[in-house]
């Protein structure tokens, strides 16, 4: 039976879009969220590499090479071209890490055998139609290297979660769009009160 977007609480593959332009100095306010995991919309089943390359403004091959430690559902991934995102999966991305552990966890690394029994193995997929959500976590150097692209792509937030974060960035809003309509930044607080349960927040950081 085909798996579709409704299985993933993502009807039609879209949430109403809230787009915020923010001062770059407020970017670090999102570090805790990026570390613990953001719900992100994925348009269709994509490999980890294809997903990353699809992010707006993703810096490309240089950064891709720097993503040396990748987990899907907690399992270290060796081949990011083959590992495919599925509904509800958790993707975690890190730079190369120190320690024997860091070397062991590296994708395709020399010491991969030392964690062979937990290594991610690509399975046959059910047919999946439409968009779905995945959880993405960013660690260490990738917070600043991949974080801006991921946040511009948009993260799915509950309205209460967004309200909880608002204090840390509200003063840095330079532009606000709700469902494609410009709204005065000063109206953000009142907009928060009228938002539906879930929105796709696209966060664009300006220097």
């Amino acid at each position: 039976m085909p798996k579709n977007a409704h299985d993933n609480q993502n009807p039609g593959g879209l949430f109403p879009c809230l787009r915020l332009s923010l001062s770059r100095k407020h970017f670090s306010a999102f570090f805790p969220l990026l570390q613990s995991g953001c719900l992100v919309q994925c348009p269709k089943p994509l490999s980890v590499e294809a997903f990353l390359l699809s992010l707006p403004g993703f810096p490309g091959a240089t950064i891709l090479d720097g993503i040396q430690t990748v987990f899907l559902d907690g399992r270290p991934v060796d081949d990011i071209k083959a590992a495919t995102l599925e509904p509800d999966c958790e993707l975690a991305l890190s730079a190369a890490m120190p320690g024997a552990l860091g070397a062991v966890m590296r994708r395709g690394g020399y010491y991969a055998a030392m964690r062979g029994h937990i290594t991610f193995q690509e399975q046959e997929h059910e047919t999946i139609q439409g968009a779905f959500c995945v959880t993405v976590k960013l660690f260490n150097l990738l917070l600043s290297q991949v974080g801006p692209s991921l946040l511009e792509h948009g993260i799915v937030l509950g309205s209460e979660e967004l309200a909880g974060l608002a204090n840390s960035f509200e003063s840095g809003i330079s532009r606000l769009e709700w469902k494609g309509q410009d709204i005065a930044p000063g109206e953000f607080s009142s907009l928060l009160e009228s938002l539906p349960n879930r929105v796709r927040a696209q966060l664009v950081f300006k220097v």
């Binding site: 570390q35 987990f71 055998a113 029994h117 260490n140």
Partner: protein, 578 residues
């Protein structure tokens, strides 16, 4: 480094100082020196706290030179914690200063008749050993403050805290850092207890008037060092990840892998890991006005340490390291960085191994002495150690003792030394090293991830299932070599990925000593160290049955991957098929 300083603390009429040529120990540094001396001079059946044991303090082969990363020092003895050979490694200033003073090792021998408290002063004019009862019972911070008042802040110190004086199994030896704080420790195996048993509280090293050690080929050494530094500065782990976030950068990654032992190794994920991660700590340090990047010794270019600023805005301790954050944090269910930092400060002051103490408290929590997650209770247990109460002495004797006293079944120790911060069920290859290292469970025993370059033990196919034993063996050999060089183990990443950086390291050794070593020679050097250590342990009564993980790792599946340790005893026994 052409002489060895021997201080017989049990000499007639008081401590006797002798200096001998380095002799049969020529060319040995760091761990190679400590393990060779212990094997040849310490009776394997002696009591670790008795007169026959010796405490050997040795700078690395390249310490005291202009070489980068060469400030590591080794402390060796028969361990009161494991009963086997021990090498505990530390940063700090002492390696460089001791080497410039010309000593390849300090060896503390014998035992004073009473409970005396001695300090040793070593400078260009010689060595003095004097009784100083005013030091007795002081924490390491107070000891260093007294030294600063008397000698200024350019000297280096080696000291023990009250835990060492009480001769506890978790007692460490403290080394002062470039800011002259006692934050760097040879932590593992109770080496501080052996120093305490010798009655030595403090060693002050003053290299004023001494010059750097000179290479046999100074120009070639300088050139090799330049290439070596360039390699470190171009690698993302050593030039970005470690300086920006410190070793605690590992929390999120190990947690994600499901290998972050939580609540005394009950599960592999800690729900609040992101609250104690290196990323969070770095943000907090910056917000509180601290410095996130410092070296643990002069000449360090990686600079993986930094400040930990308390909630009051004052410096509390050094940037807390990954192993400590794990041991006092997730393993005790504690998610408050400020409490973890306080525990780190107390460990440093009392002179305790943070890994052993975190495990000991976690085992006590498992026994119901306190609740997992109860930070104030953890602080109180450490206070008990400092006071030397019966409960405190039990905790300070390590996780194995706590487990025996409180009848806890699942005690994470190998050779009675507590496991570090990677669950061996999730990362089985590291479990092999925990089980088989002559040092007891030790993450740094298999740290030098460059065996493919060194070709130690020949080429290995890492993808074959039985590769774990072979990989572990080669990692342990390579690590022993680096521990002997005086280099920081973190150079391993740059030399793993960049063959030219590994060649630069070899070129440094060759230029300094006039050798013509290849990677094979480097591997042979490490193999000889491990053979010495294995020989001592065999004489001390260790058998292959000591090269095992506790049984619960084979029986209790670890969430989230629900895996058990699956490496067979036969594979473990094959690790040291030299």
């Amino acid at each position: 480094m052409d002489k060895i300083l021997r201080i017989n603390m049990g000499g007639k009429g008081g401590p006797q100082v002798t200096e001998t040529p380095v002799g049969e120990y020529e060319g040995l540094g760091g761990r190679a020196m400590t393990s060779a001396v212990v094997l040849r001079e310490v009776p394997a059946d002696c009591h670790p706290l008795g007169a026959d044991n010796k405490l050997v303090i040795a700078p690395g082969m390249l310490s005291g030179t202009l070489g980068a990363q060469t400030g590591r020092i080794s402390v060796g003895c028969k361990s009161p914690l494991t009963g086997g050979i021990k090498e505990a490694n530390s940063g700090g200033q002492a390696a460089q200063v001791l080497a410039r003073l010309g000593y390849a090792a300090i060896i503390l021998e014998g035992k004073p008749a009473g409970d005396s408290c001695y300090k040793v002063i070593i400078n260009k004019d010689g060595v003095t050993v004097t009784e100083d009862i005013t030091l007795a019972g002081l924490g390491n911070y107070a000891v260093v403050e007294k030294v600063k008042a008397e000698f200024g802040d350019k000297v280096a110190t080696i000291s023990i805290g009250p835990a060492g004086e009480m001769k506890l199994g978790a007692a460490s030896v403290a080394f002062s850092d470039p800011e002259m704080r006692p934050t760097r420790h040879a932590g593992r195996g109770g080496v501080g207890a052996v120093m305490g048993s010798k009655g030595v509280k403090l060693i002050v090293l003053d290299d004023e008037g001494m010059s750097r050690r000179q290479a046999k080929d100074p120009e070639a050494f300088k050139d090799a060092n330049k290439r070596f530094v360039a390699g470190l500065n171009s690698h993302p782990v050593t030039s970005q990840g470690l300086p920006l976030f410190g070793t605690n950068v590992l929390v999120n990654v190990v947690n994600e892998a499901g290998g972050f032992p939580t609540n005394n190794f009950k599960t592999g994920r800690f729900e609040n890991a992101s609250k104690i991660s290196g990323e969070t700590m770095a943000e907090q340090t910056t917000a509180r006005g601290g410095v996130v990047t410092r070296g643990c010794h002069k000449g360090c270019v990686i600079r993986c340490s930094g400040d930990y600023i308390g909630p009051d805005g004052k410096w509390l301790t050094k940037q807390v390291e990954y192993e400590t954050v794990w041991a006092h944090g997730a393993n005790c269910g504690i998610d408050d960085l400020d409490i973890i930092a306080q525990l780190d400060r107390m460990d440093d002051d009392l002179g305790l191994d943070t890994i052993e103490m975190g495990n000991a408290i976690a085992v006590a929590m498992d026994a119901g002495v306190a609740d997992f997650g109860d930070g104030p209770a953890a602080l109180k247990l450490l206070e008990e150690v400092g006071k030397g109460t019966p409960l405190g002495r039990i905790i300070g004797s390590g996780a194995g003792t706590v487990g025996r006293v409180f009848s806890v079944e699942n005690v994470p120790v190998v050779k009675n030394q507590a496991l570090p911060a990677y669950d061996p069920r999730a990362v089985q290859g590291i479990g092999v090293t925990y089980a088989t290292s002559p040092q007891g469970a030790d993450h740094t025993a298999g740290y030098a991830v460059a065996t493919n370059l060194m070709k130690v033990g020949g080429d290995v196919d890492p993808l074959k299932p039985e590769g774990n034993a072979e990989l572990s063996r080669n990692l342990q050999i390579a690590t022993a070599s680096i521990d002997a060089s005086g280099m920081c183990l973190f150079i391993a990443f740059a030399i793993l990925d960049q063959p030219e950086t590994f060649q630069a390291l070899l070129d440094m050794i060759n230029a300094f000593y006039g050798y013509s070593w290849t990677g094979d020679d480097w591997g042979a050097y490490g193999t000889a160290i491990l053979k010495n250590e294995r020989e001592f342990n065999t004489k001390a009564g260790f058998t292959k049955n000591d090269d095992r993980l506790p049984a619960f790792f084979k029986k209790m599946p670890l969430a989230p991957h629900n895996v058990t340790f699956q490496v067979t005893d036969e594979e473990l026994d094959s690790v040291f098929d030299f």
